[in-house]
């Protein structure tokens, strides 16, 4: 699967294309298939997200996951500060990252 990601213009936070909008949560990410470039161009025009780009991902029972470690860390947050990730209360939140 292919995922579309970028950083929110105002906050810089990592954000994922859901098919209709942007979400901070990788679980909400949609497979953009071959439509990625067109969505990317339209969203760049809308100027809500910085430097969006298309990445390879895979569907898992827990939801979509980026293929490359860099984007997995982007999806979670810093592995050395679980308290600053999107799921600070879940000690297993990052098990799929590394």
């Amino acid at each position: 699967m292919k995922l579309l990601t970028g950083n929110d213009l105002k906050t810089g936070f990592v954000t994922w294309w859901t098919g209709a909008d942007w979400s901070l949560h990788i679980e909400d990410a949609a497979d953009v298939g071959e439509a990625g470039e067109a969505i990317l161009a339209a969203e760049e025009g809308a100027r809500r997200v910085n430097a969006p780009y298309i990445i390879a991902g895979e569907q898992t029972p827990d939801g979509p996951r980026p293929a490359h470690i860099k984007d997995r860390i982007r999806a979670l947050g810093p592995t050395v500060r679980p308290d600053l990730t999107l799921k600070p209360a879940d000690p297993a939140a990052g098990d799929w990252v590394i």
């Binding site: 906050t11 470690i69 982007r74 592995t79």
Partner: protein, 543 residues
């Protein structure tokens, strides 16, 4: 401490106003990211993995308590309650919102700070010896010269678009505590026939092509220092490679020209530059230098230290250094707790260090290139009180220059350029060697980790260096031995094939065991490596 004059204030305030308007236009969609990116980078605002990152300049690493408290305030109000002190003696915040950036810069300007020229192809923050003004071995305080260079390089119209970024360090002692020869220009204030002058080392650096700067001029009269620096930059600006980012640093130019030819061109340029009159009149330099006058230290203060508390005595032995004035000492605060994140400090810790500086260190602090903090002027009689306060705040780890005093870049946990994580490796190594007795048995051992070839973690200069690379999507760590950023400067040599995260920790243990087996009396790790060479260590690592 240098205090802004009307020109400094006007320049910084004008830049805050300008950048505030640029941010407004970006948020309003009036300019694109491609248009905005170079503008935000000129103000130290990067876009990293998880958010915007703001790098704040700390000129030559010197701060007062008011400025330090502002750094804590920014961490608390605009970030996630912590900051990261860097190898350029700066501080970075990892979770900045674009819409907050103008307010942060206004807050910084209120305490005579900014983020200008902490990014981009310009002259970056001038770095210096963190013990400047206090070190027993310096011939003068190098900071007035660093400040002069700061003023000269700030918004220098000719050097705002260099082929690549440019880093300058200034020291004034034979012991190099600033990695001087691994800078684009390293200046050492030296003495000759009773006069002080500047030795210019040009063309050093780390990154993907590490080089040690050759000596270009052994004695430049200090009245000519700015002109000589200008000539060095002009030759680079004219001939530096702008067509290839990997060959754009001055070290490549000098390597290709040869030091002799580069020197010839600089000397020729210098003759012209000197006629332009850019070196300041003596009165202006004296005005700057007066602001770095030594604090009023009482040389009759008691010199003895009550060492009856054994934990305190251990800390004194490891983290306290000799001061040039009797009865005083230099306190080195380690930001490397075992298992912690090198260089990180919470807002409460930053506030505490500011309080201690105000109460015990004549209101001065320093940031070190090794990502620690210094209180430069502490009475020996006050050391116990300082230690107690630091200990209560988790800031009294007695590991300065030991194996757990690790320099580590933010790595793949934060940095968009990184290929591998640095911090978890640092944490595992520090934990493996957590026993203080074992660390002290190993003695001075400088371990440095970079998460990519850009070498922000100075791995080339580590007695033991680690470089994280991406090997088919997996983190892999190359080990190198024998580097040094000090006066015995050298570049590390790669041991061989790399390791995974746990494997590199095991390899380091085999290396240190081999050192203990091979060393002779008084030898540091790097001395033993230089004497016996790579072969026995390679044998120990790979069998």
């Amino acid at each position: 401490m240098y205090k802004y004059d009307e020109y400094d204030h006007a320049m910084v305030e004008a830049r805050v106003a300008e950048f505030s308007d640029q941010v407004r236009r970006r948020l309003a969609g009036e300019i694109t990211e491609d248009q905005f990116k170079p503008l935000r980078l000129m103000n130290g605002l990067y876009l990293q993995l998880h958010a915007y990152m703001l790098r704040v300049a700390v000129p030559y690493g010197t701060l007062d308590s008011r400025q330090m408290r502002m750094l804590a305030h920014i961490a608390r109000k605009y970030d996630r309650d912590y900051g990261h002190f860097t190898t350029r003696q700066n501080i970075q915040y990892n979770w900045i919102k674009l819409e907050d950036a103008p307010a942060i810069l206004e807050d910084l300007a209120s305490v005579e700070m900014h983020a200008i020229q902490t990014s981009g192809n310009c002259i970056r923050n001038i770095s210096s010896d963190q013990w400047a003004g206090a070190a027993a071995d310096e011939i003068t305080d190098p900071r007035p010269w660093a400040e002069l260079l700061r003023q000269w390089s700030s918004f220098h119209p000719e050097f705002s678009y260099l082929p690549r970024k440019f880093k300058i360090a200034v020291i004034a002692a034979d012991e190099d505590r600033a990695a001087m020869r691994l800078h684009d220009i390293g200046i050492q204030i030296v003495e000759k026939d009773g006069q002080h002058g500047a030795a210019f080392y040009v063309g050093g650096g780390m990154g993907r092509t590490p080089m040690i700067a050759p000596l270009i001029k052994d004695f430049v009269p200090l009245d000519d220092m700015l002109s000589y620096a200008e000539a060095c930059l002009r030759v680079y600006n004219r001939y530096g490679r702008r067509d290839n980012i990997y060959k754009a640093r001055i070290k490549i130019l000098i390597h290709e020209l040869g030091a002799d030819e580069y020197r010839r061109q600089v000397e020729e340029e210098f003759k012209h530059v000197k006629s332009l009159g850019i070196d300041p009149p003596k009165a202006e330099f004296d005005r700057i230098a007066a602001q770095f006058a030594p604090p009023p230290l009482d040389a009759s203060a008691p010199d003895a230290i009550d060492r009856s508390d054994p934990d305190f005595a251990v800390w004194v032995d490891q983290n306290v250094a000799a001061h040039k004035v009797s009865g005083h000492a230099i306190v080195n605060i380690s930001l490397k707790p075992i298992g912690g994140i090198p260089g990180d400090a919470s807002s409460a810790q930053i506030d505490l260090m500011a309080d201690l500086a105000e109460k015990y260190s004549h209101d001065e602090l320093r940031v070190t290139h090794a990502q620690n903090i210094v209180l430069p002027h502490v009475r020996k009689a006050d050391l116990y009180a300082v230690w107690q306060a630091l200990d209560a705040a988790g800031l009294a780890t007695p590991n300065l220059d030991l194996i757990s005093d690790i320099i580590a870049c933010p790595g793949l946990d934060y940095c968009s350029l990184a290929n591998a994580r640095s911090i978890p490796v640092a944490q595992k190594i520090a934990t493996r060697f957590s026993d203080l007795g074992r660390q002290k048995e190993l003695g001075e051992l400088k371990l440095k980790i970079s998460g990519c070839i850009n070498a922000c973690g100075h791995h080339h200069a580590g007695h033991i260096g680690i470089l994280g690379v991406d090997r088919k999507g997996t983190e892999n760590y190359q080990l190198s031995l024998g580097g040094s950023g000090a006066e015995d400067v050298s570049l590390g040599t790669i041991t061989g094939p790399g390791f995974d995260e746990d494997g590199v920790v095991d390899a380091i243990e085999r290396v240190t065991d081999k050192y203990l087996a091979e060393r002779t009396e008084g030898e540091r790790f790097v001395d033993t490596f230089r004497r016996v060479g790579m072969a026995p260590f390679k044998e120990a690592i790979y069998g």
